[in-house]
């Protein structure tokens, strides 16, 4: 009799847990159906922050989307306007190493040989500290400098910048500032290699 009641207890316990897990799974499936974030859609949504128009992606290592690694940074995605009449506009997703929490990714819009806008793509820097290197007030330091084949990229300084190729690090967040600069320099290297030297449009 005891044995039977023990079996009964085990079975009911397992059944209750299975039912709870099943209902939980069904609820999560339903919520997921309505909140699913498509990775490609997310990329285009984020890229829209730096380019006001429809973009199309070019896969890395195929023609225009060739991968470039340069001094702690690399280009991981290349997007160009869908409209073929718009030329010399490139939105690059660049990764920079050396950040406080490893690596970070930024979107860099290079139009007509100049960086015109930037946005954070993926980063996990300290809010209120490293995050200050991922906002427009910091990004503005990179804007407007003409990229020539001989341009050697930006340098991070802690004092007031002396030239256009120097950017002032965010106070207390020099690691995040350096990582962003690494990413920007990789994007610049890509532009020099693929567009200025390679002649891509």
């Amino acid at each position: 009799m005891k044995r039977k009641s023990l079996t009964y207890e085990i079975l009911t316990t397992a059944l209750v847990l299975v039912v709870i897990a099943g209902i939980a799974g069904a609820l999560l499936g339903l919520v997921n159906h309505f909140t699913k974030v498509d990775a490609e859609e997310l990329t285009y949504r984020k890229a829209a922050a730096v380019y006001d128009g429809e973009l199309t992606g070019r896969p890395i290592q195929e023609g225009i989307g060739q991968a470039i690694e340069y001094q702690g940074g690399r280009v991981v995605g290349v997007y160009v306007p869908k409209d073929p009449s718009v030329t010399d506009v490139f939105v690059l997703c660049a990764e920079g190493s050396g950040a406080y929490k490893g690596t970070l990714k930024v979107l860099v819009n290079i139009t007509g040989g100049k960086i015109v806008s930037m946005a954070k793509y993926e980063a996990d820097e300290t809010p209120g500290l490293g995050s200050k290197a991922l906002v427009d007030s910091y990004f503005k330091q990179y804007y407007g400098v003409t990229i020539t084949p001989s341009f050697e990229g930006f340098k991070v300084v802690k004092s007031a910048p002396l030239s256009g190729s120097e950017v002032k690090a965010v106070s207390g967040a020099s690691k995040s500032s350096t990582a962003v600069t690494n990413a920007v320099n990789a994007a610049i290297k890509w532009y020099q290699t693929v567009v200025l030297i390679g002649g891509a449009k």
Binding site: V16, A24, P127
Partner: protein, 217 residues
């Protein structure tokens, strides 16, 4: 009866505030309060999970076998945390990024497990819901308050908006973990001091009222 319900609701705000009185959920408290908005978002997420899990656990308290109640509670809590995570990732991606790993870690937040075990598992649905709202609201208030202080002192801004030239004289240490402990400790001492003063006054008033009532008699 009405008073009991009101007590259940307000209990978590001051008297048994999870952050300053019960000292529960310290890890997310210190980690996400670098900005007031992050504190508010974390508090809102915890409130939602507390409310839903308390209601669900109270509803199922007679169905869940006692031996496996903790795993069952964890499954229920994890479900609601994942719902919050999915919704936040879709509609509030910047906050989702800011809260990072601390969002899924709500599953093991001791406030939620403690309320499930100590309150929801032995109280009716309505009381459990009120307890969830009260505790969640208390947690949200505390996190937002700590976030406001840390953001003001550490970044010179209020909910992300820079306040004059305060940013130039801000002290970065308040955004770092050491500053988190400093602010948390100071505010905890302040809240405890104020509540003790209030309790003493209440006690004095009561003891003054008693002898006069005796005299009248």
């Amino acid at each position: 009866m009405k008073n009991t319900k009101l007590n259940t609701l307000t209990n978590g705000i001051v008297k048994s505030n999870p952050t300053f009185k019960l000292v529960l959920g310290t890890c997310p408290t210190l980690a996400v309060t670098t900005q007031a908005l992050n504190g508010l978002a974390m508090g809102a997420a915890v409130t939602f999970v507390l409310l839903c899990s308390n209601v669900m656990i109270s509803l199922l308290k007679k169905v869940i076998p006692d031996r496996v109640r903790i795993p069952a509670y964890v499954v229920i809590i994890a479900t609601f945390v994942t719902v919050v995570q999915m919704v936040m990732q879709k509609f509030l991606p910047s906050l989702y990024d800011a809260l990072g790993v601390f969002l899924p870690l709500i599953v093991v937040n001791c406030i939620i497990l403690a309320r499930a075990e100590a309150f929801a598992s032995c109280n009716p649905v309505l009381d459990s819901a009120l307890d969830g709202i009260g505790m969640g609201f208390g947690f949200t208030l505390s996190l937002t308050f700590i976030g406001i202080v840390r953001e003001l002192l550490g970044a010179g801004s209020f909910f992300g908006l820079p306040i004059g030239s305060l940013g130039n004289v801000s002290m970065t240490v308040f955004i770092l973990p050491a500053g988190g402990f400093l602010v948390y400790g100071t505010l905890m001492a302040l809240v405890n001091f104020l509540t003790r003063v209030a309790e003493n006054r209440k006690y004095e008033k009561k003891s003054e009222a008693k002898p006069s009532a005796e005299k009248e008699a």
